[in-house]
């Protein structure tokens, strides 16, 4: 079975995370794709370019000369009411950072895949989550993908969420660089007709129209700016409800559901819970099962959405825990990991007052083993009885911990 032939819902295809995203984007039929290559995103846009060149995908493909231009072009397209898609990673994502705010403030429902990759300096092309977690305030919905099937499914769902008139907010889909983008898994590729039925054409609310001209992207001074920002914030909060509706509808049609903004694994009676995001959740689940088999009451809480931030759901899941750890692949220098800071803030008023620990691991693509995760659970349990370092780097080449 070649990558270029269309498939039905019942057949499994052995494809990479990147290819799964490409399929999701293809099936969503974007009008315009504008993208700039950067490792480890390249395969996404290569597949799309192949299909366009073969006449199997009717999108306009723009070979833009930078990531900033990629998102600028997508915004231009979106401003006409066209569906648009792009993809990037680390340096490229940061290069277009201005445009992230521009797009969310402009209420352009663009979907972008981000291959999570370490940020220079030093240069490092491998996967960590510093790039997207450094941009949580950019106004984009941020989803963290665990596996290739979810990558395909959520790319399609992302357009439905973004374009919903109560949301009208761009969506960033995050896949761990190499670990997920370049790993092959069996994936079911839905039929085009089924996706067309699920995802109707984009009907823009705000756009430039030859029959009803508008002025867009205007200036709003101190008297008005705040109201536009409040609109944005409230629309982002609506995304929680809309995402759940979209997931339910997707499940009805395609038989796969992802359960909402967070996924709790064996947390109901857990003494300690490890919060994490992205593909490392698989390793953590393994470690949880191993420790549970030895009678240790541990659980994992996976965050699928970082924006809107599922504070309420987190509070509920860990309400019985004595310690909560956050495992993430980023750090905000001089403080802690971004996810930890937000989880800690949300649990500030929690009745059970759990001990909070931050595990910064996997930077620059350093492997996180099952043994590493088991040690984190051990540390968490120890933390319930004795004071210890709140923010810790895992597997640092030195004798003492940071």
């Amino acid at each position: 079975m070649t990558s270029s032939s269309l498939a039905s819902n019942t057949q499994s295809h052995f494809i990479s995370g990147n290819e799964a995203v490409a399929w999701g984007a293809r099936l969503a039929r974007p009008h315009v794709i504008a993208a700039y290559p950067i490792t480890p995103q390249t395969v996404v846009i290569e597949r799309l370019a192949e299909w366009v060149a073969e006449g199997q995908l009717g999108s306009e493909f723009l070979h833009v000369e930078s990531e900033h231009s990629a998102l600028s072009a997508c915004m231009g397209a979106s401003a006409l009411g066209a569906r648009s898609f792009t993809a990037s990673s680390s340096q490229g994502l940061l290069y277009m950072a201005e445009c992230l705010h521009y797009a969310s403030g402009g209420r352009f429902p663009i979907v972008m895949m981000n291959a999570n990759r370490a940020l220079a300096l030093p240069w490092n092309i491998y996967g960590d989550q510093q790039d997207s977690l450094a941009l949580l305030s950019g106004g984009w919905i941020q989803i963290y993908i665990e596996d290739a099937q979810e990558a395909l499914d959520m790319t399609i769902q992302a357009f439905a969420i973004a374009e919903h008139p109560d949301v009208l907010t761009p969506v960033m889909l995050n896949l761990d660089g190499f670990v997920l983008t370049h790993t092959y898994e069996p994936v079911q590729i839905p039929a085009q007709e089924a996706v067309d039925a699920f995802l109707p054409p984009f009907r823009a609310v705000s756009k430039m129209d030859l029959d009803a001209p508008t002025n867009m992207g205007f200036t709003a001074g101190p008297a008005h700016y705040t109201e536009f920002k409040v609109q944005q914030h409230r629309a982002m909060l609506e995304a929680t409800r809309v995402a759940a509706e979209v997931d339910a509808e997707f499940a009805r049609r395609f038989g796969r559901s992802y359960g909402g903004a967070v996924t709790a694994y064996r947390c109901e009676d857990a003494e300690v819970v490890l919060v994490t995001l992205g593909s490392v959740a698989g390793t953590v689940r393994d470690a949880v099962d191993g420790l549970r088999g030895r009678g240790v009451a541990v659980g994992m809480l996976k965050l699928r959405f970082m924006r809107p931030f599922p504070g309420h759901e987190i509070e509920q899941v860990v309400s019985g825990a004595r310690a909560v750890g956050v495992l993430e692949k980023d750090v905000s220098f001089g403080n802690a990991g971004a996810v930890f800071s937000e989880v800690a803030s949300t649990l500030a008023g929690a009745a059970n007052r759990p001990v909070l620990l931050n595990f910064v691991a996997g930077l620059g693509g350093r492997d996180i083993s099952r043994a590493d995760v088991e040690q984190m659970f051990v540390d968490l349990i120890a933390a319930t009885t004795q004071p210890c370092e709140r923010v810790r780097f895992v597997n640092v080449q030195e004798t003492n911990n940071v």
């Binding site: 209420r107 001209p213 867009m216 992207g217 109201e227 536009f228 609109q231």
Partner: protein
């Protein structure tokens, strides 16, 4: 659209009522620029040859074609004086702007 009219603007009562994102109808004007002037151009109709140099020269679109001659739109004239300078027939002169309550 030939020429947008100046409208009365009432500030939206809540974020819900604001336009969705910075997008609004084209040509929406809520005020004139008349108050910018300290002097205003006056067209001597009989001297005007209708060459329309002034129409093509006005940065603000405040010189209008009227029949075979021209007229000034005092709502949007800023009093820059370009029309006076460009007119080869010396048909436009600048005079001091009158008080804010004068017509």
């Amino acid at each position: 659209m030939p020429k947008p009219k100046v409208r009365l603007y009432i500030r939206p009562s809540s974020p819900k009522v604001y336009p969705v994102g910075p997008c609004f109808m084209a040509g929406h004007l809520v005020e004139t620029n008349a108050s910018w002037r300290s002097e205003r151009p006056l067209v001597t109709v009989l001297l005007c040859t209708g060459c329309q140099r002034c129409v093509r020269a006005c940065p603000d679109g405040a010189v209008l074609r009227v029949g075979t001659g021209v007229a000034i739109d005092y709502d949007f004239c800023k009093g820059c004086g370009i029309c006076v300078h460009e007119c080869t027939a010396k048909a436009i002169t600048m005079v001091p702007e009158r008080g804010p309550n004068d017509v």
